[in-house]
Amino acid sequence: MKRFARSTEMTLLVIGVVFFVFLVIASHGDLLSANSLRVLLQFLAVPVLIGLAQMVVLAVGQLNLAVGAIGGFAACAMGVLMADHGVPVPLALLMGFLLSAVAGLLNGVLVVLTRINGFIVTLATMTVLLGVQYRLVGTRTVDAYPQGLKDFGSSALFGVLPSIFLVALVVAGALSVLLRRTVPGRRLLASGGNPIAARLSGISNDRSVVVAHTLSGAILGVAAILTVASSPGVNKSIGGDWLLPSFAAPIIGGALLTGGSAVVLGTVLAAFIVRFVDTARAEFSLEPSWVNFVVGAVVLGSVVLGQVRTRRQERRSVVRAPGATVAGGVS
């Protein structure tokens, strides 16, 4: 418990609560109305998921520039399947999800097989998929898909908790269990934390990289489904603004860019804070460009802060280690 009190998650929780209270006061309590809360959470579902999709590749020491392209492509594919080809909703969603997971798998396999830096590989797949997305929808907005799906997208439990937000939370919970308590998840973290030690412990780092990218694709598949369900329609711009938030959430959430950390809770909390920035912008009628400015600054700040913390920890452990050896001695 003590460790939690000093953790990034705790800091984020405090910042988030203070921020929220501030917003409630600034809005004269309007934010606490069921409707406002519902809207707030409605727009959180997708950011949470794309943050997690990036977090899982960061955990293995990679990155994924194609988050928006994979999600946008999958969303458009689902829309086109339903609207133009009359594919039933469940089948279309399943196909979109699988396409997305396969795109992630492909990223992983390419990184492993070619040994080319993941930055370049995902930059390339991003460009390719953006092209495919454009081929699929061109300049139109595809919206002629069944109302039932749209109803699901705007439904909410007790009128406050949007269904799509609950789906995002379920994914977050499942990912947390997967990373912490299952063999593939732990191998993934071991490969990210110390690839040499992992290899010498009999873990295949290649497999971990493929698993991470595939998971990333699968999470993006869910994000694409939620996008299709909650938007009035899909077009070529879906996914175009996902990249910065995908990095912002895990980085603010305390993910190590060198890999090895699983910060599901941190990512979710950070997504909340980013969302609050947007809410504040609306509340005070500021220019939308301010949001990007603030989020970018916060990301930069978190990275610097993280580095300061790591360095301080290193210094402390250098000083402490000898003492521990002497005092600890033989056990």
Binding site: P184, R186, A197, A198, R199, I203, S261, G328, V330
Partner: protein, 505 residues
Amino acid sequence: MTLFQAERVDKVFPGVRALDGVTLALEAGSVHALLGENGAGKSTLIKVITGLYRPDGGRLLLDGREVSFGSPHESASAGIGVVHQERNLIPGFTVGENILLQKLPTSRGLVDRAAVRSEASRWLAELELDIDPDQPVTELSVAQAQLVEIAKALSVESRVLLLDEPTASITPNEAALLFHVVEKLKNDGRAVLFVSHKLEEVFQICDTVTVLRDGASVLMGGALSELTRDQVVDLMVGRVHEALSLPPREVDTSAAPMLELSGVSTATGHADVDLAVRPGEIVGLYGLVGAGRSELAKALLGLDRITAGEVRVRGSVVRIRNVRDALRNHKIGYVTENRKEEGVFLEQSVSRNIAVTIWDRLRKAFGYVPAKAETATVASYVDQLGIRIASPDQHAGTLSGGNQQKVSLAKWLAAQTEILIIDEPTVGIDVRTKDAFHTLIWDLAANGLAILLITSDLPEMITLADRVVVMRDHRVQGELPNDHDYDRMSQQVIRLIHAEGTTAA
């Protein structure tokens, strides 16, 4: 004339007195040898002289005036050049740029290429080297790169030059070229310190010698012309060791070997290696740093290619593909020498560090690992090895070196390996923990494990090994039964290592 002096220099690390009143004097126009076993303090002394470490006692004198260096940059500006054991050239740069790296000539803010060429040529000419300053360093041979490093060390107008094992990775022919350069430096009136493990070289090119043993200078500036090889070896090893007394342990020498290598050659340069380890036996693999022992272990685990010969495990010929294969199908474990970099996951809990090898055994449906089963297994090894932790959730990074090493060992015990390759288990570990570790390894063998122990620590080898296999230049130099008599064994081992006429390129 004495150019440089170190007077009664001390350097203390936690639990170890690395340098204990070391005195060294370097004369102009003379080559001085620095000798000592692994861990005697040679590299520490060089790091103190170049300002990488601050001495805890004593003083350094340059031209008779006391100096104190806060960084290698300061010592270089004062005229002390050093060529480290590791290569320090920047791959994308030319020879000239590498030589002048510390103070690249510029004109109007840009690197002046003509000046680089002419100035670098001057240093290359000084060493009578026929190397084009515009050539990229990646095109150089190992020996040429070594000589370029010397030119680089000279380019700071150095009068004192420290060469740390400059011949460790080059062939005898190439070494001849290097000796020629050293001779030239000497004739120009520079003071050269030559660190080497190869006694024949030392006798060939050095004038005087300082011998370090356990961080103290046991011979200060003796003239090599008045010393014999045997006298030097005696000075290097003649220590009194307070042996840890371990209970007797019988090895069944008629038992079939668990692990047997015959005529093994590898992609990393091993040739014709024969080796066998029986159940319950500890076979020590001794040699100098760079003799190819860890590389042999890694080839055995499938991390490097075996190009010829046979590896038998429990009597049948095997081809081990990777660590996973070694562990799962042959029950072979490898405790690495670099625990921090290769042995533990510093950011993860002790319990995960130990269980990493057994997740497959503990897994339930969908790969789920129940926390209870894991904690229980881990706890038994924490007990057995006496790992001091507050809780199994503690991060491995917060443990002392000795405890990290135990964690690194525990994961192989948890995996129930039967053949264990242990690489330099007690480097940087204090004396008491070291003894505890030795007892542990001894007990593992008594329980029937076949252990291949790689160590550069002679007392450790003689305390633990049943047989000692000596390696040099990626070949087996010889094998000795261990009679646990420290003096006799150390003499034999060191002689085997320094035996003449068997140097392979």
